[in-house]
C-alpha cells in the first residue's frame, strides 16, 4: 500500500475516525494495528521481523536500564508485559554483562538482521570477486533474499533508542505498546523521516484529539507532498529511466537533461513522501521534524547535508561521526571521520558499490571544501565580490558537483536491478563529456522535457516564494486563501499528475 493509491485513501478514511474515536491506550492500539496492517500489505511475512526487532530493542533498553539502576523497584509496575520481561531481565542482569556489552549485543543483532537481509549477497558477491581476482574460484551460491521494505529506517530508529538509553539521554520505555507504536508508526515506517525515541515517545503521553488547525496545516503539507510526488517526480521518471536504462542511445544534451531531471525527481519523490508523512502525523497530533529544507540552494556541502535527508544526516552525525571523534582531534582525524560517515551513509542507501562511491564523492567534496573554503572567502573579500555573485557561484558549484554524484547514485539503483552500475555511470558521463548531440533537435521526447522544465520551474517558484510568504502558515489564518490554494493544488494534480501509483524511490532503501 503506497500513499498515492486509492487503497491508502480508503485506509486513512477508516483509520482517522477510529483513531480520534479512542483515547490513551486505545489510541495507541489503533495506531499499532493500523501500522502493522499497513506494513503487512507489503508482505505480511516481514511483520515478524519488525515485531522481533521491536521486542529485542525494548528488552535491550530495559536490560541496560536495569544494569544502571540495579534496584528492582520497577517490578511493581502495573504493566504486565513489563513485569514479565523485567523478571527475565533481572536474571540476565546477574550475569557479567555491562551496559556497554548489552549495547554492543543490541547493535550487533540489529546490524546482523539488516546485514543479512540487505547486504548478504552484496558482501558474498564482493568477496567472490576479490577471491577470483587472486586466483581462487569460490563455489558458494548467493541466496535469494527479499529486502523487507523500510528495514533500514526502522532498524536505525530502534538502534537510536537503545543507544540513547545507554547514554542515559533517555529513560527506558516501560510500555511495550508505546514502544511498538514508535517503531511501526505507519506514516514514516517505510521511508522515514527517522524519528528519535526521545522526540517521539514523550508525545505519546497524552491522548490526541482532533484539532481543526492541525488538520488544515497537515492537509496543506499532504497536498504539497502529493504534488511533488505525483505531478513532478512521476512526470520526470519516464525520461530519467530511459536515460539510465539505455544511455548509449542518447546524445550529450539529452543525458544532461536526464541527470538534472533525476536531481529533481529524487528530491520531489523523497521530500514529497516526507511532506505526506509529516502532514499525516500532524493531523494525528504529533510533531515530526523537517526532513528537507530546499537543499539545492546550499552554498556548501556541509550546508547541503543539513538540508537533505536531515533525519539521516543528523542520525549519522550523532551516532557515528561524533562518537568517532567528530572534528575534535585534528584535521586528519576529522577528514577520516567525515569520510567514514559518508561512506557508511552511502552504503546505507543500498547494497551496491555505486552507492558507496556516491558517499565517497560527498566525503571528498566535504574534505576539499574544508581545505579551500578559507582561501575562497579570503579571495572574495579581497576582491570585494558582490555577495549575490559569490552566493550564485557557490550554489552553482555545489549543485553541479551534486549532479555528478547523483549519476552514480542513480546508476546504483540500476545495479540493484541487475544492471552494470559503474558501466551505466561511465556511459552517461562519457556521452555527456563527448559533446556530441548538443542540439535540442537531438533530444528525444521533447514534450517530456518541456513538461519537466515547466514543473521544475513551478517547484522553484513555489519553494522560493514560500521562503518569504510561508503559504502553509498563511492559509491557516485566511480560509479564503486556503480554499484557493487547496483548489489550485488539486487542479495542478488533475492536470499534471501521473496516477500510475508509482512506488517511492526510497522504498528500495
Amino acid at each position: 500500500m503506497i500513499f498515492n493509491s486509492l487503497a491508502f485513501l480508503l485506509f486513512i478514511l477508516i483509520f482517522f475516525p477510529l483513531y480520534f474515536g479512542t483515547k490513551g491506550k486505545g489510541q495507541h492500539r489503533v495506531c499499532l494495528i493500523a501500522s502493522y496492517f499497513f506494513y503487512g500489505c507489503w508482505d505480511w511475512r516481514f511483520l515478524s521481523l519488525i515485531i522481533l526487532s521491536t521486542l529485542l530493542d525494548w528488552c535491550f533498553g530495559m536490560w541496560i536500564s536495569h544494569l544502571y539502576q540495579n534496584d528492582g523497584k520497577s517490578t511493581n509496575h502495573q504493566n504486565k508485559a513489563y513485569r514479565f520481561t523485567h523478571r527475565i531481565i533481572a536474571r540476565l542482569a546477574q550475569t557479567n554483562f555491562t551496559p556497554r556489552a548489552v549495547l554492543v549485543l543490541s547493535i550487533a543483532m540489529n546490524l546482523g538482521v539488516l546485514g543479512f537481509f540487505k547486504y548478504f549477497n552484496f558482501f558474498a558477491d564482493s568477496l567472490a570477486m576479490l577471491l577470483q581476482s587472486i586466483g581462487f574460484v569460490p563455489s558458494w551460491n548467493t541466496l535469494h533474499i527479499i529486502l523487507p521494505v523500510g528495514i533500514s529506517f526502522y532498524t536505525f530508529q530502534s538502534m537510536s533508542y537503545t543507544i540513547d538509553v545507554y547514554r542515559r539521554e533517555l529513560k527506558q520505555e516501560t510500555s511495550l505498546l508505546k514502544f511498538a507504536t514508535y517503531i511501526a508508526l505507519f506514516p514514516q515506517l517505510v521511508a522515514g523521516p527517522i524519528i528519535r525515541a526521545a522526540d517521539f515517545l514523550p508525545q505519546l503521553a497524552e491522548s490526541k484529539r482532533f484539532d481543526y488547525t492541525r488538520f488544515n496545516s497537515g492537509m496543506g503539507r499532504i497536498l504539497w507532498g502529493f504534488f511533488k510526488k505525483v505531478a513532478i517526480a512521476d512526470s520526470l521518471a519516464p525520461f530519467v529511466d530511459q536515460c539510465f536504462q539505455s544511455p548509449q542511445s542518447f546524445g550529450s544534451l539529452h543525458l544532461m537533461i536526464g541527470v538534472v531531471f533525476y536531481s529533481f525527481q529524487i528530491y520531489c519523490d523523497f521530500s514529497g513522501y516526507s511532506d505526506i508523512a509529516i502532514g499525516l502525523t500532524r493531523i494525528m497530533g504529533f510533531h515530526f521534524p523537517e526532513n528537507f529544507r530546499t537543499p539545492y540552494f546550499s552554498r556548501s556541502f556541509s550546508e547541503f547535508w543539513t538540508r537533505w535527508h536531515i533525519s539521516l544526516s543528523s542520525w549519522l552525525r550523532d551516532y557515528l561521526y561524533i562518537p568517532l571523534g567528530g572534528n575534535r582531534h585534528g584535521k586528519l582525524n576529522t577528514y577520516r571521520n567525515n569520510m567514514l560517515t559518508m561512506l557508511l551513509g552511502g552504503l546505507w542507501h543500498g547494497a551496491n558499490w555505486a552507492f558507496v562511491f556516491w558517499g565517497l564523492l560527498h566525503g571528498v567534496y566535504m574534505m576539499i571544501q574544508r581545505i579551500i573554503s578559507p582561501i575562497w572567502h579570503r579571495v572574495i573579500s579581497a576582491l570585494k565580490v558582490p555577495a549575490i555573485f559569490s552566493a550564485g557561484v557557490e550554489m552553482g558549484t555545489v549543485y553541479l558537483l551534486t549532479l555528478f554524484a547523483w549519476v552514480f547514485f542513480r546508476s546504483g539503483s540500476q545495479g540493484l536491478a541487475g544492471g552494470d552500475s559503474f558501466g551505466t555511470a561511465y556511459t552517461i558521463l562519457s556521452h555527456i563529456g563527448s559533446g556530441i548531440g548538443l542540439s535540442f533537435s537531438e533530444v528525444i521526447n521533447k514534450f517530456q522535457v518541456l513538461k519537466g522544465g515547466l514543473l521544475i520551474s513551478m517547484l522553484l517558484l513555489i519553494e522560493l516564494s514560500n521562503l518569504r510568504y510561508r503559504w502553509n502558515e498563511w492559509q491557516l489564518r485566511q480560509p479564503y486563501l486556503r480554499i484557493a490554494l487547496f483548489s489550485m493544488v488539486l487542479w495542478l494534480l488533475a492536470f499534471f499528475g501521473n496516477f500510475g501509483a508509482n512506488a517511492f524511490i526510497y522504498f528500495q532503501f
Binding site: 481543526y212 548509449q248 542511445s249 546524445g251 556530441i436 548531440g437 533537435s441 537531438e442 514534450f447 517530456q448 518541456l450 513538461k451 480560509p479 486556503r482 480554499i483 484557493a484 487547496f486 483548489s487 489550485m488 488539486l490 487542479w491 488533475a494 492536470f495 499534471f496 499528475g497 496516477f499 500510475g500
Partner: protein
Amino acid sequence: MQKVVWYLLLPLAFFAGDRLGGYLLQKQSERSHFRYSRLYQNKAKADILLLGNSRGLCLYQPYIEEITHKKTCNLSYNGLPMDAAKALVLDYLDRYPEVKTLVIDVTMCDRENDPLLTGFLAYTDKSERLNTLIHNKELKAWWGGQVSHLFRYNNEIFQRALYYRNKSDEDWLLDRVITEAQIIDTSKSTYELDVNPYLIRQLQETIEASLEKGVQAHLVIAPYLPGFTVENLDNLKKAVEKATGLQVLDYRNSLVDPTFFGDYMHLNKEGSRHFIDMLRKDGVFD
C-alpha cells in the same frame, strides 16, 4: 459549523475551476492544427489516409502530396495501437467519405498500449468509439475524466495539440541520423514483435469497414535498419495476410544506407523520401 462550511466550499471551488479550465483547454484543442483535432473539427479532408505507430510517421505527408498531387492525412502516433487506430479510422470514414486510399504500416498490430488510450480522453466528447474503448480498457482513467475535466487534458496528446496550435503537424518526422555508436551496436540490438490476435482482428475489421466504403487499403512494412533483428515479423506478416486476405508489401530490408535512419526502427526525412518513392513505384498511391 463554520469550519465544516469551509470544507464544503472546497469541492465547489474545485469543480467550478475544473470545469472552467476543462472548457478553456477544450477550446484550445479544437483550434489546434494537430491531426486528431483537425479530424474532429472536420478539417482533415484527404484522398489518402495514412496510419501507423511511430513508424507510420515516416509516411511523410508533404512529400507524398508533392509527388502525387493528392491531399493526405496521417493519423499515425507514437505507440498507437490498432484498437485506437480503428476507432480513429472509422470516425474518419464517417466524416470524410471522399477518401480513396488507406495505407497502414502493419507493425502497429504489435502490442496493446492502454496507457496511451487515456491520451484520447481529450476527444471522448467528440467520439463515441474512443469513449467506449477507453471505458472498456482504462476504466479508472475514464472515471478520472468524468470527475475532472482537467484530467482529460493531462496527457501528451493534448500537449501536442497545444504545440501545433498555430502550426501544421504534417512535418512531424525524425530529423536526425542514427549515431555511429548505435550502428556499431546494430547486431546486438533486437526487437520482439508480439503477434496479438486481438489487434489483428481490429485491423481486419478496419479493412472490412474501409472496403465497404470503397476505400482501397494497402498494407505495408516500412524499412528497418539492415542488421537489426526484428523477431516474429514474418509471423506477424503471415497472420495479417491470413486475417485480411490482402498482401503485405514488405520493405523491411529495402533501404541499406544507415544515413536514411534516425534509429534502428525509424526512417528520417531523407529515408522517408526513398521509401515513399518505392511505394509510389509499386502503385500504392494510385
